[in-house]
Symmetry: C2
């Protein structure tokens, strides 16, 4: 970065004006946006869906290998994914950030470039937030708002016995991308001057640094009149998400290891690192795919969609939550996903 403008030269309100000067409204439901005590939204008879996430430097992200533009993009996308996981359409976001004085206006511009890129891609409006200082590091809190036709939202608690257990896309790549970045960071720190070797690993690195939310899957559901019985997005890993659905729906499940979708490039990289690709999918997290359950009668509607895999089925609660391995063994599913409190 060539230029460095100190935040203090703008002040809080000047900074907000600067960061939001090109902010365009895309949704007619956005009545009042940035610049008042609060924003106003009119969802015209729809129901409002809302979610929020806090991301802390050093806990959730490492600026050594995370470009600020990607971080802004991902902060928004991770929240939109939660809105899609309710079978809703995201319409607005608010963005609150706190940062220490090591950040310049140019650095924040990069971060906001990522925010606006995500807003453009997903058709959502940035309608407010807060900008303040921190004593240490960069802290982000995003709230996303969406809309859904009355009572068409999908929670985690509606899975029924014999429903199909499904997942979109593929799993484990984000974790493998993170593992690669952490490995190259370590090499770089230990051997000054050695540049990171990220060759041919665009796919897994893209999955961790610039994930996408599955807008297409929600649109596919709407176009084909599919309403999942339960749904959740993959933030902590497949095991954790499946257990959430089973616990909140008061059911059990059988999951087939061989059915879990893993990308070929990711699988090869996992073997190179002597990691089990299935373990990466089960415990990795941050894939932002959708895990959902469907009535069996909807099977015909999804069978031709290559972005949807049936990975198991729902059972009575008493049968437990189990995975059948490729070798035919049955194990209880345990959540070993990401835990900020470990």
């Amino acid at each position: 970065m060539e230029n460095r403008t100190e935040i203090s030269t703008l002040g809080e309100f000047g900074l907000i004006d600067h960061l939001t000067k090109n902010n365009e409204i895309k949704n007619s439901s956005t009545l009042v946006s940035v610049g008042d005590d609060a924003a106003v939204i009119d969802h015209f008879g729809k129901q409002t869906v809302i979610t929020t996430d806090m991301l802390v430097e050093g806990i959730h992200f490492d600026l050594m290998y995370t470009p600020l533009k990607h971080l802004g993009y991902k902060s928004v996308v991770a929240n939109l994914s939660d809105i899609y996981a309710m079978n809703a359409i995201p319409t607005q976001v608010t963005m609150s950030i706190a940062f220490s004085n090591r950040f310049s206006v140019e650095a924040l511009d990069e971060f906001y470039d990522g925010i606006y890129a995500a807003c453009d891609k997903y058709g959502v409006d940035l309608i407010g937030g807060d900008t303040t200082t921190s004593q240490k590091g960069f802290i982000i809190c995003v709230t996303a708002i969406g809309e859904v036709a009355p009572d068409k939202y999908v929670t985690r608690s509606g899975a029924k016995k014999a429903d199909l257990l499904c997942v979109s896309g593929d799993l484990g790549s984000a974790f493998l991308g993170l593992t690669l970045l952490e490995r190259e960071k370590k090499v770089f720190l230990e051997t000054k001057g050695v540049q990171p070797d990220l060759e041919n690993q665009d796919y897994i690195i893209g999955r961790i640094l610039k994930p996408e939310a599955r807008k297409d899957i929600i649109e596919f559901f709407a176009a084909n009149e599919i309403r999942p019985t339960s749904m959740i997005d993959v933030s902590d890993g497949l095991s954790s998400e499946v257990l959430h659905i089973c616990k909140q729906s008061n059911v059990g499940c059988v999951l087939y290891e061989e059915k879990i979708p893993v990308n070929d490039l990711a699988r090869r990289f996992a073997y190179k690192l002597e990691l089990d690709p299935t373990a990466c999918a089960l415990s990795g997290g941050e894939d932002y795919e959708l895990v959902f359950t469907l009535a069996q009668s909807d099977y015909d509607k999804i069978v031709l969609n290559e972005q949807i895999s049936v990975i198991g089925y729902i059972t009575e609660k008493e049968e437990g939550t189990n995975i059948i391995t490729k070798g035919g063994n049955k194990h209880a599913i345990t959540a070993q996903g990401w835990n900020a409190f470990k």
Copy 2:
């Protein structure tokens, strides 16, 4: 505090269950609350109002003299105040927190006691949030949601020439309370063992540690069919808020120093510290009173309400934004309110 339970004994989901186990839903508009990817709200044809704030330990609050219960209460109230400032009724909040390992489950319980106390008092539901760790200090991000009848919201930009400039309650006390607490902290740190002298200063200390939002004023407006032409809440100080209204409404104003309401106890304490009570009101902030403008034809409706003071009037933009001092001098209003970036 006698007991100390480590957060790690509960884990993230256990902690969320623990903190929200007594969470009661008060609004029929709350369809899905804590425990899913997102919450769902149905405002039954009303418009949705949304605001968010981030609070950082060491920047916005000092835990040396801020009880966690009060902090929880104030975090919610400050956001509800922004909803009221839109002439709307708050209905839901989300609460995201990040904290270092020096916080115990009991400490978070105290913080949540304050959150629930505010939710009870103002009739709002806690519907979601995020709990995570920080590398340093306690970070809070609150989002508040409210509702307003279609197009009855009030922004900062509707003030018209000849409108009355009004304020609720009294101003400057929160700043004086903060000044007292900072003074006693300094004495305590410099002279170990000397207990703080806060006698007879309950009013100003209450104003900084446990502020209230002016729900009553918004209810008064509704009962008397008053719709302010513009409105803002006092978070940064009267000067800053009046300048926001004038800038966004493209108008000027005349403000009379002698009309600015200051509490008697606060005034006496200001003189004791050789501070100008007017300066405390203009630049102090955190009073969470409402500053608003009214058509002159509404004057009869507010004249008997002792909680509302007329402090000036709106002029053409070209006349500037001025204050007439008690001595009869005219000065341009300057914002010297709180600035996190100074």
